[in-house]
């Protein structure tokens, strides 16, 4: 089983890296790009002993307490397999 955790900056929090990427792709000629926001992606391999409910619970807690900083970031958890 695998947990996928997506961590993104909260809406409204300035993302200077996303802005720089936005500027670069603009210079490269990509059209129609309104904005770019960057974030982080984690793949967590989970022990087979966990059922999917416990797996989600564990991954959610880990995302909230460790992987994301709730002051500036949001997270989303997906369980696979």
């Amino acid at each position: 089983m695998k947990a996928k955790v997506y961590v993104t900056l909260k809406p409204g929090v300035l993302d200077p890296q996303g802005k720089a990427i936005r500027n670069s792709v603009g210079l490269m000629g990509y059209g129609g790009i309104a904005d770019v926001r960057q974030g982080k992606y984690f793949e967590i391999a989970l022990d087979a002993s966990l059922d999917s409910e416990r797996a989600r619970e564990t991954a959610e807690r880990m995302a909230r307490e460790v992987l994301a900083n709730p002051v500036i970031e949001d997270y989303r958890v997906e369980i696979e397999g």
Partner: protein, 234 residues
Amino acid sequence: MKFGVIVFPGSNCDHDAYHVISKHVGQPVSFIWHRETDLAEYDALIIPGGFSYGDYLRVGALASFSPVMSSVKEFAARGGLVLGICNGFQILCESGLLPGALMRNRDLHFVCQHVRVRVENADTPFTNELRRGQILSMPVAHADGNYTCDDETLEELQREDRIIFRYCDAEGRTTPEANPNGARDSIAGICNRGRNVVGLMPHPERACEDLLGSSDGRGLFHSLAATLALASEH
């Protein structure tokens, strides 16, 4: 009066802080490894600058989960004095001892230069030898010093006079040009509600000798020592 300087893998301003306490403040000081948990003998702690745990995940994040930080939280809850400098400020925010977060600099550059900060509150254990409005010159060296917090927290910091230092120009004005990293409200340093925990991005420990371009940082350490001397008399 005993000072402790906490050392994480990747700390690199620990020896500077140690040097300043032993040479300029003239007080006993020890290094505290990040796995230690007994802080009973200390009166003040310095969390130094550097790149703790490589700044992996987020700046200061992994350090905030280290064994010593659980003890630092208890130490602070008892009223112990804690000064976080640069990475130390980031660690204090990540561990929840100070509000807000430090994000990537506005212009994405690692800024390494002398900046000016204005003393906004001289009524703390860390600034009582300074005066409000005084302009200090200190170096900054960071990629993630862009202080941010939500509107409610900012309003609280302002109302409770917990913004200790703001970036300013030579005349003491807080302009966008004088703000090296885009920090909200030009914030360079803040304190907690109890005023016993302070974090700042500039490096006072690197500004204690004229040979290094400034000795303005001494005021912070002398304030700390004066506070502790006063406390031990009572």
